[in-house]
């Protein structure tokens, strides 16, 4: 459990911004701006944040769909940040991604068997018949019957499509899966089934998950650690129990109190007081010097606008980026 599968150090990803008549580069969108974390083998780490916070970009940069602007990614102790395409091939076998929308991540013109065997083909694994056998085996792993092999994605329900996407990701026996909101397009009863399946697979194949989600209640049930992102930065990270027991960043508190909760024994919080009503995103091309949550924060002070609160450890393994984290608890 103690070996780290992935360590991300000060990861940055900027997207260029073009403007003017000559489409010159006029600036950059700092989508991910200095993210550091690590995940141990066999663990599930959740990355939480609202849309536009850069959580998907982190996932995509780790599996090198995007090239990072700065920072390093260590995969199983090896620096994989600047590998060439050839070297990447061998690393990619071990880390795969499952995307949010199963409908658009599966090629509608290919049969399930072609979709699932595509990674094997790319990596030149096995002969045709071996690949087909592997595809059947994979479908069994994700609990789909063998007859699905010859069907097209349009004939499948959302949950089944997501299983096919999962089978494709598992084709090369990876050890890290980046799951980008794998259940947000699914109904709750199907979501529950998919989550159960993911849990089973993790045990059986000793997988490590980076689970990207916006649903804190869901995350509470599956993750060992939670990272909360806000506009390109991690603002709080802690073991799950700890985070839910004492959230210490005003944003995390807002997020928690606005979750629709169904447990009847849980008192519904009055979320109104936690946040200013302004709906302000921040300009990621010119991020403010101070705290990025400043415009929405109900506890803000002058200091927050002037200095960026560094991520610091307020309790064991509990990191918060807020000047007044200690006061938040009272």
């Amino acid at each position: 459990m103690n070996t780290e599968v992935i360590r991300v150090n000060d990861l940055r990803k900027y997207f260029p911004l073009y403007g003017g008549i000559l489409r010159k580069r006029v600036g950059e969108i700092k989508a991910v701006d200095g993210v550091t974390f690590s995940i141990g083998a066999g663990e599930t780490c959740a990355l939480v944040g609202e849309s536009g916070s850069g959580k998907t970009t982190v996932g995509k940069t780790i599996v090198r769909i995007y090239d990072p602007t700065g920072g390093t990614v260590y995969f199983e102790g090896r620096d994989v940040t600047n590998l060439s395409q050839d070297e990447l091939m061998s690393v990619r076998r071990k880390m795969q991604m499952v995307f949010q929308d199963p409908t658009s991540s599966l090629n509608p013109r290919k049969r399930v068997r072609d979709i699932v065997t595509a990674p094997l083909e790319v990596h030149r694994v096995g002969s045709n018949s071996e690949r087909l056998a592997r595809a059947a085996e994979l479908l069994e792993i994700v609990q789909l019957s063998r007859e699905y092999l010859h069907r097209y994605p349009y004939g499948l329900s959302g949950g089944e499509k997501q299983r096919v996407a999962l089978a494709r990701a598992l084709a090369l026996d990876p050890c890290l899966l980046v799951l980008d909101e794998p259940t947000s397009a699914l109904d709750v009863s199907v979501q529950a089934k998919t989550i159960a399946l993911l849990g089973e697979l993790q045990k059986k194949l000793s997988l490590t998950y980076l689970f990207i989600s916006h649903n804190l209640v869901l995350v509470k049930n599956i993750a060992a650690t939670v990272l909360v992102m806000y506009f390109g930065k991690i603002i709080e990270s802690a073991p799950t129990q700890e985070l839910f027991r004492c959230p210490s960043h005003p944003y995390t508190m807002t997020l928690l109190s606005s979750m629709p909760v169904v447990d009847t024994e849980v008192e519904l919080p009055a979320s109104g007081e936690l946040e200013n009503i302004v709906e302000a995103g921040i300009d990621l091309a010119n991020p403010p010097v101070g705290c990025r949550f400043y415009p929405r924060c109900a506890f803000r002070e002058e200091l927050c606008q002037e200095a960026y609160p560094k991520l610091r450890e307020i309790r064991k393994e509990h990191f918060v980026s807020c000047h007044f984290a200690e006061q938040m608890l009272t």
């Binding site: 709750v188 529950a192 209640v217 629709p260 849980v266 946040e275």
Partner: protein, 360 residues
């Protein structure tokens, strides 16, 4: 005073007195009886809505909850007659709004009711606004043309050139925007939808629904496309507004967590039937129908983990299961279930369930 204005004033007066008169009685405002909508397809007839019954009482919020494809949005759309016919076919049923059957009234009357008494907040804030007009244009147009039909050129000129009317309507629109706590509403009015964030667009849509003083608000999953913090804000605003105006609401959602925040009563829908009705706390504390039990069990919880979901999937409407439509997925299946369709029975005060387990 121009006609539109007079009508707005009168209808607001009328609704005020009506609300105070009815709120204590809690009689039904909208009653859907045995609604059946079939779609003809190349492969046969899809029996999508198959006998829906529900009631929205005066001053209450009824949540219609169910999973994708169970027909909840379709029910609402059918009531307002905005589904394409054909391929859809209304086989039977009534949708009584204050005693008038919305499915039978003539077009003019329907337009009048839709224009003034029923407001709908659509699901997707990204597509519901017209991208080539400013918010102001869209809101004013709605108010100016409410209840007008077959307008002659003369009237058209009169209405569009009437500066005084425009100014008053703009004021009214600004008031509504302000009441929804939209920062700097004057600026928002001049913007195109693309310049607004998702939450802002959804608020504009809600504002548009409140331009008139509706008796019934139909909200089709507002906020599902938005972030939780924004969604929470929208729901609080909506709830606030509903309780202030004592508005009757039909709230359609697949998110039971949201349902719990808003509803007085909840109706659970499965495969074109309403299968369970009750007060919100009752349904959450003690779900009766096996489907509701499974649904509530599959929700992730803060305490006590996540369930294992419901096996199987929503049936094919072309060839729905005989008897109870849930029986192929049901863990309490009995021999009778695939033979006879269960009837809705009242198991407690205001607590209805459609399942053989609770019959006789």
């Amino acid at each position: 005073m121009c006609p539109t204005q007079a009508r707005v004033a009168i209808s607001s007066e009328a609704s005020k007195t009506a609300v105070s008169k009815y709120s204590s009685v809690s009689s039904s405002l909208l009653e859907v009886r045995d609604l059946r909508i079939y779609f003809s397809t190349f492969r046969g007839e899809a029996r999508v809505i198959d006998g829906v019954n529900m009631t929205v009482r005066e001053g209450e919020t009824l949540v219609l909850a169910g999973e994708t494809g169970c027909g909840k949005s379709l029910t609402a759309k059918a009531m307002l007659r905005v589904i394409p016919i054909p391929p859809a076919r209304i086989v039977s049923g009534k949708a009584l709004f204050r005693g008038k059957d919305l499915l039978q009234v003539d077009e003019t009357e329907l337009q009048r009711i839709k224009g003034r008494e029923i407001a709908m907040v659509p699901q997707d804030p990204m597509t519901a606004l017209n991208p080539v007009y400013t918010v102001e244009d869209q809101m004013l147009t709605m108010m100016i043309w409410q209840g007008h039909e077959d307008v002659a050129v003369k009237d058209w000129l009169k209405l569009t050139r009437n500066k005084k009317l425009r100014k008053e309507l703009t004021e009214r629109a600004l008031d509504v925007l302000r009441s929804l706590r939209i920062p700097s509403p004057e600026l928002v009015m001049k913007r195109y939808p693309i310049e607004l964030s998702g939450g802002m667009r959804q608020r504009v849509l809600i504002a548009t629904a409140f331009l008139k003083r509706p008796r019934l608000l139909i909200a089709d999953e507002p906020g599902t496309a938005l972030d939780v913090t924004v969604q929470d804000k929208i729901i609080r605003l909506l709830k606030d507004r509903i309780s202030r105006e004592n508005l009757s609401t039909l709230y359609i959602t697949h998110d039971l967590g949201t349902a719990r925040k808003l509803a007085h009563r909840i109706a659970i829908m499965y495969a074109g039937r309403v299968i369970e009705v009750g007060n919100v706390e009752d349904v959450f504390n003690e779900p009766l129908h096996p489907y509701t039990v499974g649904l509530i069990r599959s929700l992730p919880k803060l305490h006590g983990g996540i369930g294992e979901g419901i096996p199987g999937m929503v049936p094919d409407y072309l060839n729905p299961p005989r008897g109870c439509r849930f029986h192929p997925r049901c863990e309490h299946r009995m021999p009778i279930c695939d033979q006879v369709r269960p009837e809705m029975v009242e198991v407690g005060p205001g607590r209805f369930v459609e399942c053989h387990l609770y019959m006789g």
